[in-house]
């Protein structure tokens, strides 16, 4: 145990950051948060090169490490961006210091969820993310964001109650919730099957998967941009991680088919709803949903599908968080989330416009970015196991999503000219660029990802 | 002998019914720290009304005139066939089982409504329509209760149900019995016009049963009131003797004296129930008229839960 405590390093860093944030010293919370997020990023990178490890408390495999890296990257950039973003905001729901406190707790809960072995503790960790992030959504104290925070709390909690039932079923039928034992042997009865299916639905609520996804666009549309970024970038993949564990402990045909159908339905509904959006933040929220559906399809296929899902997790996390930072920039300049109110982005803030254009290409799966490679792997796995028909069918909806997002973003960028806007600090415009670059670089790391996920493929 | 018991029973019901109402009113007044009327006030009322002349609306038909007498007759008949002072069937008991008894109650209510409509008074019509809409929804609950008791005892006979419940604790303490009793209690509150449903004032917004005899006076009103007292008395007795406290009701071999003694015990049981009613009447406020249907829905839910509990637990 003693030397394996290193797998808890990111968690310990962010948790200690949270504790230090309470101390009422001016600027302390910001300094500490930047410091601990950098330290946890360093720890996550260090852990990437450590061996997999399993005991009664830990279950660390390639996927855990991959998620830890993504969380740490998005965490670091979110903390940096928050400092600039909240500078001109007033009327907080709570003390500004508490924002960083909750952010650190939130990230700590995610770090916790991806390394523990007990499924029940994964549930506890994911529920803890709900608790800590509910107030983050409502940071900007107005009625709509409060309402969306409330919807988030109640819908996600109900969904997680369903997955708690699934924990009950799994524990009742298998006698253990420990993942490494369940992977080795699990009962082949209906109770266990229903347990895993309920788990998929329950955790799917948190991941924005089809039947109970309704909180997702509300929250992403109204939360402050850094919070939207961290939600979209890593919170949804962490919930998907729990879903993957469900598939992993019961890799039967029913479970795989069920999760694939859920994923496909998510892609379809997201693509269709994306086409009619007029609020750009909501549109990108639906785009996140589409990517989550794609990841779930990849998880359900296994093999190269899983590799594709891993690639999408990393590159989507980076690119989408970049996009939400950019929407924050647009919101501060134009004071509206309506697309009609946003014109001539190119002449008003050129760097933001270029980055947004490239990033929206990236998240919808245009070639030179990581998500393209991930979708490519997933589609090839889909064709290999289910034939061309379903793949082409799915491709139609991916194309709809691609066209609607890029067309709408293009309309925002390339319309009439406008005076340049100089209100943004340099950090606000450069962080998205860095994130997008990293998202592009993730394409080069595919062999490394494959090595990480080797024993899962 | 059975005919004698029947005669005693009918006499007992007819004479004790006003007393029960009087006691309930007196208790309610005492709870509110008032002096209150004598417990014999209903008798005085009846005596006074019998001495007065009856007025009949010009436009009404004989239905109006004879309604109360028919109703009184039906309740007197019901007093003979239901287990009120004996736990064994008396001379006329084979005439009707529980469902049949329910039908007689329904017939009495229908005659009341017809005679109220026949009075051609707006208030009486108002009360009739309210009573009809509530009664129509209370009826299925009653039927469900009877069905559940039939399932427990395999008969529809109130005497057998009494014997089953008093002799088998596994039924008496079962959830099914609990739910049925709770549902019947709620129906009893509706049928006897207790407070969450109906207050005993002549406010036209809340009147249900008070509005119906609006045009009656004198002797007719006395008969009408007496019949109403008997109805309350019979329903309460059935609730106590068949559902709640089936113990102690004299069996066939226990003889004449025990029946006489049981009359006293029965009055004590009724006193307990009346105290409960008085507590409800003094603490609960009246529902708005359309809220009564929520009350009915809950009563139905309890009766339905009884059947669900039976199937889930078997």
């Amino acid at each position: 145990m003693n030397q394996h405590i290193m797998y808890l390093l990111p968690l310990l860093f962010s948790l200690s950051g949270a504790v230090l944030c309470i101390i009422p010293v001016r600027y302390l919370e910001r300094t500490v948060s930047v410091l601990v997020s950098f330290l946890s990023l360093a720890a996550a990178v260090y852990l990437l090169f450590q061996p997999n490890y399993t005991d009664n408390f830990f279950y660390v495999d390639g996927l855990s490490k991959l998620l830890m890296l993504t969380i740490a990257l998005v965490y670091f950039s979110t903390v940096l961006y928050s400092m600039a973003y909240f500078k001109r905001k007033k009327n907080f729901l709570f003390q500004y210091r508490l924002y960083y406190f909750l952010m650190n707790i939130f990230v700590a809960a995610m770090f916790f969820s991806v390394v523990v072995d007990n499924l029940g503790l994964i549930w506890v960790g994911i529920e803890a993310t709900t608790v800590s992030s509910a107030l983050l959504v409502a940071t900007e104290n107005d009625q709509v964001s409060i309402e969306s925070a409330w919807r988030y709390v109640i819908i996600v909690s109900v969904g997680l109650a369903i997955s708690l039932i699934s924990m009950t079923f799994i524990y009742g039928s298998a006698g253990t919730l420990s993942m490494h034992e369940l992977i080795i042997h699990h009962p082949e009865n209906r109770v266990f099957l229903i347990g895993t299916l309920l788990g998929l639905v329950g955790f799917g609520t948190k991941a924005g998967i089809f039947p109970m996804h309704t909180w997702l666009p509300d929250v992403h549309g109204k939360a402050p941009s850094p919070v939207s970024a961290i939600f979209s970038g890593v919170l949804l993949p962490v919930a998907l991680y729990a879903m993957y564990r469900m598939i992993q402990i019961n890799p039967s045909v029913t479970v795989r088919l069920f999760s694939m159908i859920l994923g496909i339905l998510t892609i379809i509904s997201a693509a269709l709803l994306m086409a009619v959006q007029r609020n750009y933040k909501r549109m990108f929220a639906y785009s996140s949903m589409e990517n989550m559906g794609m990841i779930l399809v990849g998880f359900s296929l296994g093999g190269y599908g899983l590799l594709g899902a891993g690639i999408i997790i990393v590159s989507h996390g980076l690119a989408k968080s970049g996009i939400f930072f950019l929407t924050g920039n647009i919101l501060t300049a134009y004071h509206t989330t309506d697309m009609k109110g946003v014109n001539g982005l190119l002449s008003r803030m050129p760097r933001t416009a270029f980055t947004l254009f490239l990033a929206s290409m990236a998240v919808t799966g245009a070639p030179p970015f990581g998500i393209f490679a991930g979708e490519f792997f997933i589609f090839s796995a889909l064709i290999a196991s289910y034939g061309w028909g379903i793949a082409l069918f799915l491709l139609i909806f991916v194309a709809i999503a691609f066209i609607s997002v890029n067309f709408k973003v293009g309309k925002m960028i390339f319309t009439s000219h406008d005076e340049p806007y100089n209100g943004h600090s340099r950090i606000e415009t450069w962080i998205p660029v860095v994130n997008l670059t990293l998202s592009f670089l993730s394409l080069l790391c595919i062999p490394f990802f494959e090595m990480l996920l080797k024993n899962l493929l | 002998m059975l005919y004698l018991y029947s005669f005693i029973e009918i006499l007992y019901v007819a004479l004790a019914a006003p007393l029960v109402i009087g006691v309930q009113r007196a208790i309610e007044e005492r709870i509110e720290s008032k002096q209150g009327p004598s417990v014999f006030q209903p008798y005085y009322d009846l005596a006074k009304l019998f001495r007065k002349e009856s007025l009949v609306p010009l436009v009404s038909s004989p239905v109006f005139r004879f309604g109360p007498y028919f109703v009184l007759m039906l309740y007197a008949f019901l007093a003979m066939i239901l287990p009120i002072i004996t736990a064994f069937p008396l001379a006329y008991a084979p005439a009707a089982d529980f469902i049949g008894g329910g039908l007689f109650f329904g017939a009495a209510a229908a005659i009341k409504k017809f005679s109220a409509i026949d009075s051609r008074s707006n208030y009486a019509h108002l009360g009739t329509s309210r009573a009809a809409s509530i009664g129509a929804l209370a009826e299925p609950i009653t039927v469900l209760i009877f069905i559940m008791l039939g399932v427990l005892s395999n008969t529809n006979n109130p005497f057998v149900i009494n014997n089953v419940l008093r002799s088998s604790p596994q039924w008496y303490f079962s959830l099914v019995h609990g739910f049925v009793s709770a549902a019947f209690f709620m129906v009893l509150l509706i049928e006897t016009g207790q407070l969450p449903i109906e207050s005993h004032t002549n406010g036209e917004l809340g009147m249900i049963d008070q509005a119906m005899p609006f045009e009656y006076s004198g002797q007719d009103l006395a008969v009408y009131k007496w019949a109403s007292y008997m109805k309350v008395f019979i329903l309460m007795s059935v609730f106590l003797n068949v559902y709640m406290i089936p113990f102690g009701v004299p069996l066939a071999h226990s003889g004449f004296l025990s029946i006489i003694v049981y009359m006293g015990i029965h009055l004590l049981k009724l006193l307990g129930l009346i105290i409960v009613f008085a507590l409800i009447n003094t603490t609960v406020s009246k529902f708005r008229l359309y809220k009564n249907f929520d009350f009915l829905a809950v009563a139905f839910a309890l009766a339905f839960l009884a059947s669900l509990a039976y199937y889930i637990m078997q």
């Binding site: 925070a149 409330w150 709390v153 919730l177 109770v191 229903i194 109204k222 909501r282 | 839960l305 199937y311």
Partner: protein
């Protein structure tokens, strides 16, 4: 022992029906506190039945009483008192469905859970009347769906958690202690956080009316 469990389970179902019937938020909170105490009694009985886990289940029952039975209702109640001058008059005024109708739907859900359970799980689990906690779960979700008042929705969620505790104890003999304890702690945190959100939400609705529907759509 099973019969006592059944009585407790049906008592919870009836309490949930009463919550459906009740319009005043304060009474609903009291009803929830009562149902939490029933869950605690249930856990104690469960502990008496499984002597090897007795100690942990008693601790869990104590935690349930302290957290679900006392602390959470007190927190919600306090939030209610801060928000309104006359907290006993706070009520659900915009239910999606009439009370009578929702009670009938609730009955339908109890029946549905019975048939679902009997059809799919009874054959394997062999636990008689295991459908009762499932029915409670569905009823609680109905409570959330039919009400718009944040406090009642929250209580619906808490009833749901109680139902899960019932289900795990009754049908499967309980979850591991560490998980249950984590669940209770999470619940406490959730209630603290959401009581703040609920208070602010009700406050803004009280002063500005609800106009969020124009933005949160599609």
């Amino acid at each position: 022992m099973d019969q006592i469990f059944e009585i407790l389970g049906f008592l919870l179902i009836v309490l949930t029906l009463f919550m459906q019937w009740e319009v005043y938020v304060k009474s609903t909170i009291v009803l929830f506190a009562i149902s939490s105490f029933i869950v605690a009694i249930f856990l104690v009985l469960l502990g008496l039945r499984n002597p090897q886990e007795e100690y942990l289940l008693f601790v869990l029952a104590g935690l349930t009483v302290v957290v679900r039975g006392i602390t959470i209702p007190v927190i919600i109640n306090k939030a209610l008192h801060r928000l309104h001058e006359k907290p006993w008059r706070v009520r659900e005024d915009k239910p999606i469905m009439g009370i009578g109708g929702s009670i009938l739907v609730s009955l339908g859900l109890i029946m549905l859970s019975y048939f679902l359970y009997q059809g799919s799980l009874y054959g394997i689990l062999k636990v008689k009347s295991g459908s009762v906690p499932i029915a409670l779960f569905l009823q609680a979700s109905l409570l959330i769906i039919t009400h718009k008042h944040a406090y009642i929705q929250m209580i619906g969620f808490l009833v749901m958690e109680n139902a899960v505790v019932m289900l795990s104890g009754w049908v499967f003999g309980g979850l591991p202690f560490i998980v249950e304890a984590g669940v209770i702690l999470d619940l406490l945190g959730l209630v603290v956080v959401s009581s703040l959100i609920m208070r602010v939400r009700e406050n803004t609705i009280l002063h500005e009316g609800d106009n969020y529907n124009t933005e949160l759509r599609g």
